[in-house]
Structures are given as C-alpha cells and as structure tokens.
C-alpha cells in the first residue's frame, strides 16, 4: 500500500514537472508528425495501399517516439542529481522505478493520442477500440522495459547510443504481437484474440521481470 503511494507520488512529481515545462509532449507530438511525413515520402502511398502501410508506420513512429521519451525519464534527475536524493529516502527503489515508469507510460499514451488520430487523418487508417487496445497493451510492457534500460544507461557515458541498442531488441516481442493485433483489427489476416492474449502475457512477464531487476539497477 505504502509502495503504491510512493510510486504514485513519484509519477505525479514527474507529470507535474512535465506539465510545468511542457517540453517533452509537444516535442514528441511534432516528432510523430514528422515521422508520418517521412513515411509518406518513403512509401508510394495511394488510397489502396494506405491501410497496409499505416500499421508499419504506426509502430515505427511509436517505437522511436518511445525511445526519445524514455531517454528523457532520467535526464532531469541526472541533471539535478536528484535520483541519489530520492534513493536515500526510505522509499524502496522498486516503488521509485514504478513511479517513473508510470509517468513515462502516461506521456507515451499522450503521444499515442496524437499518433492514432494523425494516422487516421493522413493515412485513412480506421480507428477502432481494438486498435487502441492493442497499442495501449503494448505500451505497458514497452514502458516497463524502456524505463528499466533508461535507468541502466543513465549512468553510462554514451547513453543516447546505448538506449536504442538495448531497448529495441527487447521491444520486438511487443511489436510482433502488437503489429499483428493492429493488422488483424484492420481486416488483414491474423487472429486478433491470440495476438491480444500474447500481448497480455508479455506484459505480465516483463512487468514482473523489470520489477525484480529494478532493485539492482537503481540500488546504489
């Protein structure tokens, strides 16, 4: 109970500081629009193939926006050296980590609120509850893993280089299952039920694993 309160307090702190500066979300939104613009030039898009290309662009844009967002999760703490101060409090490192992951996931959800309507507007991708559910489920696991490795690289010299290298391979299961869920929700072949089931399994697996590992990454 106490752990949950700590996690929520940390998440609230991160979201409040984002709300006061309003730096990350506008930058990410712009990044996403740019990714769609590049997707538009990279493919020969017409009304027939737009719906088959859109899911690919969705995951590419989401993955790279996610990397930018998670790269920032520990940036402010590092600049102010406030992570050490937080770790000196009696709060458990796992709770602090969970709070930061929650805040990062919330920011990514805000990005998705830009990405999905923009995809539907520019690429004619039909938006359904099924698509939104798949993207949100993938966000859970991606946030847990992304935040863990953001913490890992926070103390490493070339962190901008390493974060994508470490995080992307671990996100692949989510992109496989999420990609299939979105494709099948859009009427392409594939079983939506099975893909969603797999996403939930991966979420549980990696949330449990990251919470076990968080202690070793933050506890210094």
């Amino acid at each position: 109970m106490n752990q949950l309160r700590v996690a929520l307090a940390v998440a609230r702190k991160d979201l409040r500081s984002e709300w006061r500066t309003r730096e990350l979300v506008p930058a990410l939104a712009q990044f996403i629009i740019l990714a769609l613009l590049i997707g538009n030039f990279g493919f020969q898009i017409d009304s027939r193939n737009a719906s088959t290309i859109a899911p690919g662009i969705l995951w590419l844009a989401l993955v790279f926006a996610g990397l930018v967002a998670f790269g920032r999760t520990f940036a402010a703490e590092r600049e102010q050296a406030s992570l050490e101060a937080m770790l000196m409090t009696p709060a458990s490192p796992v709770a602090i980590f969970a709070g930061k992951a929650l805040a990062a996931a919330a920011l990514l959800v805000v990005c998705e609120m830009v990405l999905l309507p923009a995809l539907s507007l520019f690429f004619g991708m039909p938006l359904s509850g099924d698509v939104v559910a798949a993207v949100l489920l993938a966000t859970v696991g991606m946030a847990a893993l992304g935040c863990l490795f953001a913490a890992v690289v926070a103390r490493v010299r070339a962190r901008e280089l390493l974060l994508p290298l470490l995080t992307l391979p671990l996100w692949i299961p989510f992109i496989i299952a999420g990609g299939l869920a979105v494709q099948s929700a859009m009427g392409l072949p594939g079983s939506y039920q099975q893909a969603i089931g797999l996403l939930i399994d991966f979420d549980i697996l990696f949330v449990v694993l990251t919470s076990l590992a968080a202690r070793f990454v933050l506890d210094e």
């Binding site: 690289v153 103390r155 490493v156 290298l165 470490l166 391979p169 299961p173 496989i176 590992a213 990454v217």
Partner: protein, 235 residues
Amino acid sequence: MNRFERAAAVAVLLMLLAAGAIFVYAPTDALQGPVQRIFYLHVSSAIAAYGCFAVVLVGGIIYLRNDSAVADRFARAGALVGVVFTTVTLVMGMLWAKPIWNTFWTWDARLTSTLVLWIVYAGYLLVRRMAEPGRQAARLAAVVGIFGFIDVPVVHFSVTWWRTQHPGPIIVNDALPVQMLGTFLFTLACTLVLAGVMIAIRYRIETLIDEKQSIAEPVPVAAGHRAEAGPEAVP
C-alpha cells in the same frame, strides 16, 4: 608454451580433425550436395553460442546475488565468445541459405531470433565498453545479459507462432545417417572444446585487465565488496 597456448593448440588441432571428418568422412548429401557440409559447423557453433550465453546468464545471476568478481569475468568472457560463435552461425547459415533457399536471408523464427541474440549480446559488450568499469558496469551488464537471455526465446516463440520455414531439428528423429550423425557429434564436441578454451583465455585476459585497473587506481576498501572487482564507480 604456457597452459593457455597448449589448450589453444589442442583446440585448433581438434577443429582440424573435425574439418577432416566433415570433408572426408561424412557422405555428400543426396539432395543438397556439398553445401550440406556447412550444417555441421553451423549447428555446432549455434549450440556453442547458446552455451556461452548460458555462462553470461549464470554469471550475471551469481554476480547480482553476491558480487562475485569471478562470475562477472566469466560473464564478460562468455558474452564475447558467444558473439563470435553467433556471428559464425549467422554467416554460415547465410552461405547455406543462398544455394538452398535462393536467398541469403528470410525472416523466419530461428533467423530472426538469432539476429536478435547477436544484437542483444553485441549491446552487452557495448555496455561493458562504455560504462565506467567496476561494480556499476557489472551490475548493469548482468541485467542486460539476463534480459537478453529471456528475450530470445520469447522472440523465437512469437515469430514461430507467426511464420517459420527453417529446417526442423532432424537430429532427434534418426533421419540422419550414422556417418553424418557421428561427424556432427564429433564437430559439436570439438566446437564446445574450442568455446571452452576461448572462454578460459578470455577469462585470463579479463583478470589481467581487472588487475591492471586496480593497480592504476587503488580500490577504496568497500564493505561487502571484494577488492579484486576493480575500482568502483562513484555513483
């Protein structure tokens, strides 16, 4: 000749014997022709690579449990040797696939997960190189090594469930003639010896690196942490 050089000489000799078995003793495959001979080293180095990454996994877990510098050095050595064997596996597989599948690469489950395996442990080596050497780097790398080991079967499973065309494991259902099976098992044994020798030599190198570092900057005596682990990064 010290014992490392002797061990290396034995490993090289064994690999030459394995090459002899592959090219002279084993019969030519009826369907695939001589190209099939790639299989012996390809599968052996894949198994050796898995073994090396198991060393990384176990070393990482032991390190996280009790800060053992020995376990961490084994993990470092295992990751490097494992990446070498994964590279061999990938390259040999591509050479085999070009004449048989008529393409160097296809996104099937084993190919995709082996590529992910390679990327994960190449990332592990990069973490080791970029993080301040010492306890912190070891901890972070241990986490990377453990997650990588879990990620690969998950990727493999998800792609299998998606699509696959890699030749199935034919070793288990005695479809392989006895000379081929003998050649394969001999090559596998030789490759595992080679991997073991490479890990032992790399372990020695890592020990020397750690010693050099602890001479360069004397280790502050930290409670609960052994001095041979090298200088500690001040958080």
